[in-house]
Symmetry: C2
Subunit: 412 residues, 2 copies
DNA sequence: AGCAATTTAGAAACGCAATTGCTTTATGTA
DNA sequence: TACATAAAGCAATTGCGTTTCTAAATTGCT
């Protein structure tokens, strides 16, 4: 009988000296104040932290000295207005900042957020999809620099940066694996190149993963433990959250649903996976062109050059043919991702990306199609963040890193 | 901009008083000694725990008083035999015990393990698949009681029990959802009925999930962060581990891959899901009967009553027709679970259950079929634990619960 | 304006736990 | 029997959290 030789080297519950205890209590106090929606009195913090008032007092004083906390004005909280007024502590959400970056095929977006998750500023630049990797990196650096300059935030105050990119991101090496949409992208060292832009840790992450994180934190489905985010445009990718954590897989290739094998996707564009080529924006255009030829009375026939946006727009405006195409697309998607939903049994499926602009037609069609192929159908929602899901998720991810690495280790 | 209102009530890093510190250090010391393969000297523990020797000394003394630790004989460790001999502490793996229970359609298995994961004793009783739920519960209680009596372990020394069952297990209610193989099973309160058998917490868990846990802890793929365990017999279920944790989903229905929709599975047995009915033991029998009729020279034609075991046996013995059938089955499985593998990108796929008795033929066929439909094919292995995977996983699960609930809270 | 009531801030005393540094004990070897 | 060596045991010190008391700053009432 082999014993369970779990080779996890680090003991999870490391004890320590009295100083460790003080550090933990500092973090706990900071955490409580940070999560609170109003400024807190010392007594309130003490109760929340299960600590005595004098302890909280000294700890809070220390955090005040280090600018993690600020004193709030008395009128900010509904305090009982009799007796000596309490000092009110509030979290200094501008004690540091975090960056989120979305390097997409068509645009580079950067957002800077404060330590409470509030977005301070955003900057987006459009780029050509065929832009060489080096220039794409340069453009990214430029946008980051512009945003930092524009907001006047000190470089040293930026505590973490997360970069979202299409393609797989190997967790070990922080390099992009396959990323068919952007030429030369897997060959460049994204993290290395952007390291000159900031003085903090940089994390590289798949864009669909970040969209899932963003949507969970600030959009649809707050605090949902198990969810799937479908990023569907020209490409199809999924961000998967299980047990409140991102699922990345061995190669960071988890959620690459575009490559789900599908019957009838034989003579497809080799740049796309089988399912992808059946449900992406181009597929919708192909379907639209065929419908336009067959039905000249459709709104689809109006455009000379039909784009995916034309089809989704026509669908949202109620064109019967366009809506029919969207419904057919929804059935294909449902069939393709059914095993994913059966595998994870998530509460929620969020649809984002360009194709999600088809709106409620797509959502309801997808929901009903899923009901037919799955045991416990999840709720189906459209992305609430649209094309900002990835950047906002990147900011959220940076923030989580700061919480774990910085805020959990405040000293005094 | 909405702030990230994460409604997680409990602050993760709760600090505390000096007593808390002592408790943490006690747990750390206990943990270190428990994970060590040889008895440890105080100085060694102190180094591993980053604590001073006197502290470890008093803590260890307390753990000795409470029987969590024992003194080992001097000759047990390769110590330098000069100077005053060190006291050697070792973990008392018999300070408590954990139970694992596998209530299957055909048998009830119970195993008792010590706190190091070693299996002390096992007991299995065969039962009829059509046994009513009440009697199945009674049989389970009997086996548990028999094992406890047989080993002579005090009831109060049993610290946790985990019960594995086919079907979905709702995490909130601890009730079995759908479980088509066992009549009346979802209607009974399994945990409630077995509560009389022990004086500890009882956890109910899906059998495939436990098989995954067991295989990860004591079989193939030790410490693998992302893996899928396919439990394939008459039914098809999967246990999924992502980020080192079981994925249960909202309804505990994660991994119910038997219900993956498949073309060409129309006129199927309504008790089975589409994919299930195409790849389960009965499907193999149907394929075998057809092959036997067409090819009287096959070993398959020898048996009057063909069973799945006959086919897998013939395949392992090298019968060409039987092997061909197994390969075809493997292709069907590969196609059905491809989206699951794309979704999770696991390192490892373990195949267990009755059909896995087909052995290497199945494994290699599955591995090569998977390579064709997946981006990064996982390693494919056969279960090393066979029909003990579920019980052993149950024991492992109980042990993990004890680690979190008991060992992490030792007092002095 | 002055005083009581009320609530918070600040300070002293105490106790627990971990650390450093020293002494004592138990063994092997000359 | 002495000596070297390594570990156990003990005392003093320090850091932190808690309890308990006293001082301070308000509102409301007379």
């Amino acid at each position: 009988m082999p014993m369970s030789t779990d080779p996890s080297g680090a003991p999870a519950l490391a004890g320590g000296t009295a100083t460790t205890l003080r550090q933990r209590n500092s973090s706990a106090v900071l955490d409580i104040v940070r999560r609170a929606s109003t400024p807190l009195r010392v007594a309130e913090i003490a109760q929340a932290a299960s600590l005595s008032r004098p302890t909280v007092e000294t700890v809070a004083e220390g955090l005040l000295d280090q600018d993690w906390l600020l004193l709030a004005d008395a009128d900010d909280a509904g305090a009982p207005s009799v007796g000596r007024p309490a000092r009110l502590y509030r979290f200094n959400e501008r004690a540091g900042f975090v960056l989120g970056v979305d390097v997409g095929a068509h645009s580079v977006t950067v957002a800077i957020g404060d330590l409470r998750g509030g977005i301070v500023a955003t900057e987006r630049h459009r780029v050509a999809p065929e832009l060489p990797a080096i220039e794409r990196l340069a453009a990214t650096s430029d946008v980051i620099a512009a945003l930092i300059a524009h907001t006047g935030i000190a470089r040293s105050d930026i505590l973490a940066m997360t970069v979202g990119t299409p393609g797989t991101v190997s967790p070990a090496t922080d390099r992009v694996g396959l990323s068919p949409g952007m030429p030369g992208w897997p060959e460049v060292d994204v993290v290395g190149a952007l390291a000159a832009s900031v003085d903090c840790a940089i994390e590289l992450e798949n864009d669909a993963n970040l969209a899932a994180v963003g949507e969970r934190a600030r959009g649809i489905g707050a605090g949902c433990a198990d969810m799937v985010f479908l990023l569907l445009g020209e490409r199809l990718g999924a961000g998967i959250i299980a047990n409140d954590a991102l699922v990345r897989g061995r190669n960071g290739a988890a959620g690459e649903l575009g490559y789900v094998p599908v019957r009838g996707a034989r003579d497809r564009d080799p740049r796309f996976g089988p399912l992808e080529s059946r449900v992406n924006a181009s597929a919708l255009v192909r379907m639209g062109l065929r419908a336009a030829a067959e039905h000249p009375d459709s709104a689809l026939a109006a455009s000379a050059e039909l784009s995916a946006g034309d089809v989704t727009l026509a669908a949202t405006r109620g064109d019967a043919y366009a809506s029919g195409l969207v419904r057919r697309l929804a059935r294909r998607i449902a069939h393709g991702i059914a095993p994913t939903l059966l595998t994870l049994n998530p509460e929620l499926l969020v649809v984002g990306g360009g194709v999600s602009l088809a709106g409620e037609v797509l959502r309801s069609a997808l929901a009903s199609a899923i009901t037919k192929v799955v045991l416990y159908p999840p709720e189906v929602r459209l992305s609430a963040l649209g094309d900002e899901a990835v950047v906002l998720g990147a900011v959220t991810q940076s923030l989580e890193r700061v919480e774990a690495d910085v805020l959990a280790r405040v000293s005094a």
